[in-house]
Amino acid sequence: MNDLILPQGKKANRLKTSSMNNKMVNDYWTDVFNAKAEGKLVCWYEGVAINPLMQAADIRWVHGEAWSALLAARNNEQPAQTAAEHRGYMKELCSYARTHIGCGVLAQNRGVEASGSSFSDALGAGLLGERIPAPDMFISAYPYCSTGQQWDEMLFRLFGKKIPIFNISVPWVWGNKPDAMYLGGSEFNEAKQYMVKQIRACTDWIAQQTGKKYNWDKLSEIMSYTKTAGRLRVEAMELCKAKPAPASFFDWTTSLAPVNFIPGGPAIVDYFEKTKAEIVQRIADNEGGIPQEKYRLFWDGIMNWNKIGWLANKFAAYDANMVAGRYTHMGFWHEFESIDVENPLEGMAVNYLVCPINLSAPLMIEQIIKLCKHYEIEGVVLHAARTCRAFSNPQFLIADAVQKRLGLPVAMIEGDMVDESFYKDEIVNSRVEAMLESIEARKRVGIAA
C-alpha cells in the first residue's frame, strides 16, 4: 500500500483559537496555585464537571484528570508517577489516578511551606506535581467507573481521613425495563431525581464547609454561561459535517477545558464563539482540519495525552481526518438543552448521567451510530486505554455494531491516557494502515458498482 506510506511534512491544521485555550488553562491553574495565598478553599474532585457547584461557593477546584493530563502534556508527570509507585500503587491502575495520587504523596512529603509557589515557577522547576495546593475538601461524583470513586476514597485515606469528603453516587444507565431509552424511561427518570437529591445535599454540605449560604443565583449565572458554551461547541462540532471537515477530534479534545474545568463565565462563551466563527470561515474557504481529507474517521475511547500532537499529525499524514469521537461528542454539556438555568440541578444531573462512559452498551451504540451517520464516517479507530477499563469496556460491542450495521472497518489500538509506556507505535501504524486499506477497497467496490 505505497500510497499510504506517511508523506513527510503533512501536519494537522489546528484551529487557531486553540491558542486562546492555552492561555485560559494557564490562567486557571495560576488561580489554583494562588488559592491559599488568597484565602480560598480548594476542592479536589474527578470525573464529571461538577465545578460549577464549587465556583458558585467561591471555592477553587483541582480536577484530577485535568491535572494529570496537564502534567503529561507538559512532561511533568514522572515524579508523581514514581512517588505513587513507591507507595505501592501498581502500574495497571488508572494512570490518571496514579499520577494524581502521586501528587498527593508528593504534597505530603513536601510539607506546607512549598505550597505557595507560583504556577510558572513550579512549571519552570519541573515541580508542578508536588506544588499543587493540598485539598481542603473532596467531592466524589464519578459516573460508571468504580475506579473513579475509589480514587477519591484513596486520596481521602492518603490525607489521613482528616479532610472532609462528600460522595455522590451516580447510577449507571443500564436499562432493565422495556421503556429504557436515551434520556428517558422510568429508570432514567428515577436516576435523575436521585442525582438531584444528592447534588442538593452536596450544596448544603458545601455551605457548611464555607460557612456561607449557598449562592444559587451565582450557580444560575455560571450555568447560563456553561449552557451557552455547550451549545456553541455542539453547533461548531456539527458544522464539521462539511467536507473537508474544518476541524478534527484532536481540536475538540484540546478544546475541552472550557467545558470541563475552566470557570463558567464570559471567557468560555467567547472562546466557543470564536471557535465557531473560525469553523464557519474555514468552511467558506474550503479549508480542512488536515491538509488533504481522503478518509473520515471516528475515534472511540479516551484521549492519549502524551501523544495528542503526535497522533493528530500522524492521521493528517495519512490524509485521514478524525472527524468525531465518543469522548468529545458524547459528553461535556452536549445535552445543553436540558439545562434550565433558573433551576439547573436537573439539567446538570442529565449531563452527568449521559457522559461518554455512563450509558450501557446498547444505548451508547445507538448514539455512536447516529454520530457516524451524521459525519459520514468511513472507519472507526478504537483506542483501548490500557488503564481505563471504563472506556475500554464496550469497545468490542461497538466495533461489532459499526462493522455489522454500517459496514465500517475498524482499527483497535492500544495506548493509555498518561502512561506513555503502554503506547506501541508500530502496532498503531499497522492497524491503522490495514483499516485505511479496507476503506480503499470499499471505495473501489463502491465506484465499480
Binding site: 505501592g88 468504580s146 475509589q150 460522595n167 449507571w172 446498547p362 477499563r389 468490542f396
Partner: protein, 390 residues
C-alpha cells in the same frame, strides 16, 4: 457419610458449578438465577422459588472470549465473558447482579449481548456505605430487585417466604462460621482447599441440601479429636470475585504454612454476616448489606467507618496468625488501590506479609514456591525471636 465423602460431594459441586446447577434445575424444576459476586442477596431469589447460583471463574482456558474482552482484565471477568460466548449460561433463567466494579460492568454488557433471551438485570447497590442515604438507597434497590423477581415468577413474594429463606441462609452461614471457629481453635483439621470447597459449594448448591451436608459434617467433626498441627500460622487475604486456585493453597501448606483464617470472598467474607429475621425483610437486607462491610471491609466499597488494614491486623491477632499472605488477582483494581494502605499499616506494625499475584492462566505454582518458603522461614524466625523476647 464420612467427612471425606461429604467433602467429595461438595468438591464436585464446587468444581463443576454449572453442571451441578443444571442437574439441580432438571431434578427440582426450579428456576436458576445466576449472579455476579460479591453482594447479591441470594435469599431473595430463593424466596422467589428460584435457586441462586453465584457465577464462578471457570478453569477452562479463555478462547472465544478473547474476541469480546481485552486481555488486561481480571481472570474472573474474562472467564465470565468467555463462558457467556461459549453458551455455558444458556440454561440460566436470569442473571441478576448489583455490584459495580468497573470490570464486572464491562463483562455484564457483553453477557447481555450474548444472551438476548435471558433477563440480565442490574440492580445497582450503592457502594458508598456511610452516607446519610446509604441505608435507604440499599433498601430501594432491594425493593427493585424484589419487583424484578416478582415480575419473572408472575406473583408476589410474601414476607414470610423471605424470612424463611433468610433463616435458611443464616443457618448455612452459622454452620460455616462454626467450622471456621473449629479450625482456628484447632478442633477441626481443615485445609485451605477444603475450606474453599465448603464455602464455594454453598454459592452453588441448594441451601437446604448444603445445610444437611454441613450438619452431618459438624456431627462427624464432633466425634473426632483433631491432633495438633505444627507449622507457621498463616492468614490469607484478598482474592475477591474469584476463588484462588486450589493449587496455590496447597502449595502454601506444602511449604509449611497452616492456614488458620482468611478474609477471602470464597471464605469468611461470604459468610461473615447474618440477616435479621425479626424485622421487615427489606429493612433487614439493607442493614445486612451495610453491616457486612463493617464486619469484613470490602475494598470495592467506600466506607468512612471501615478500615480494611486495621481489620486485618485485628483479625490476625484474633486468629493468632504469624504472617499474612495476600492473594491478589492480576488486574484487580479495587485490590491494587487498597494494597498500599495495607502494606503501610503492616510495615508500621512490623507484621510480615507476602503479596502473591495470581492469574487465570497460571496453573503451576512452582515458581512461587521459593518465595513462599522464604517468607515462611522469615516469619518462623521472627515468631521465635518474639517468643524468646517475651
Amino acid at each position: 457419610m464420612s467427612i471425606e465423602s461429604i467433602l467429595g460431594t461438595l468438591e464436585w459441586t464446587a468444581e463443576n458449578s454449572l453442571a451441578a446447577a443444571s442437574q439441580w434445575k432438571q431434578a427440582s424444576g426450579r428456576r436458576i438465577v445466576g449472579s455476579f459476586p460479591m453482594h447479591f442477596p441470594g435469599e431473595m431469589a430463593h424466596a422467589a422459588g428460584c435457586t441462586p447460583v453465584i457465577l464462578q471463574e471457570s478453569h477452562e482456558p479463555i478462547t472465544v472470549g478473547h474476541g469480546m474482552i481485552y486481555p488486561f482484565y481480571c481472570g474472573f471477568t474474562r472467564s465470565i465473558v468467555d463462558q457467556a460466548c461459549k453458551g455455558d449460561y444458556d440454561f440460566l433463567d436470569a442473571i441478576m447482579f448489583g455490584d459495580h466494579c468497573v470490570q464486572v460492568l464491562g463483562a455484564a454488557d457483553v453477557v447481555r449481548a450474548k444472551l438476548p433471551n435471558t433477563r440480565v438485570h442490574f440492580y445497582q447497590l450503592i457502594s458508598s456505605m456511610s452516607d446519610p442515604w446509604s441505608l435507604g438507597r440499599a433498601r430501594e434497590t432491594f425493593l427493585n430487585l424484589k419487583e424484578g423477581l416478582e415480575e419473572m415468577i408472575g406473583h408476589s413474594i410474601d414476607d414470610e417466604a423471605m424470612r424463611a429463606s433468610i433463616r435458611l441462609f443464616n443457618r448455612n452461614r452459622q454452620m460455616l462460621r462454626k467450622l471456621y471457629e473449629m479450625r482456628r481453635a484447632g478442633d477441626a483439621r481443615l485445609t485451605a482447599r477444603q475450606m474453599q470447597i465448603l464455602v464455594k459449594s454453598s454459592m452453588i448448591m441448594d441451601k437446604a441440601e448444603h445445610n444437611r451436608l454441613l450438619e452431618e459434617l459438624l456431627a462427624e467433626f464432633d466425634k473426632t479429636r483433631a491432633t495438633a498441627q505444627r507449622g507457621v500460622r498463616v492468614y490469607l487475604s484478598g482474592h475477591f470475585c474469584q476463588a484462588p486456585k486450589t493449587g496455590v493453597l496447597d502449595m502454601i501448606e506444602e511449604c509449611g504454612g497452616i492456614v488458620v483464617d482468611d478474609d477471602l470472598y470464597h471464605g469468611q467474607r461470604f459468610i461473615s454476616t447474618d440477616v435479621d429475621d425479626s424485622i421487615d425483610p427489606l429493612d433487614a437486607l439493607a442493614k445486612w448489606y451495610l453491616e457486612r462491610n463493617l464486619k469484613v471491609p470490602c475494598p470495592t466499597r467506600v466506607d468512612q467507618n471501615a478500615d480494611w488494614e486495621n481489620y486485618l491486623l485485628d483479625a490476625m491477632e484474633r486468629s493468632r496468625a504469624d504472617g499474612m499472605i495476600v492473594l491478589m488477582a492480576k488486574f484487580c483494581e479495587p485490590h491494587m488501590y487498597y494494597y498500599p494502605e495495607i502494606k503501610e499499616a503492616f510495615e508500621k506494625r512490623g507484621v510480615p506479609h507476602l503479596l502473591i499475584e495470581t492469574e487465570h492462566e497460571l496453573n503451576s505454582f512452582e515458581a512461587l514456591r521459593t518465595r513462599v518458603e522464604t517468607f515462611l522461614e522469615v516469619v518462623k524466625r521472627q515468631t521465635a525471636a518474639r517468643r524468646i523476647a517475651a
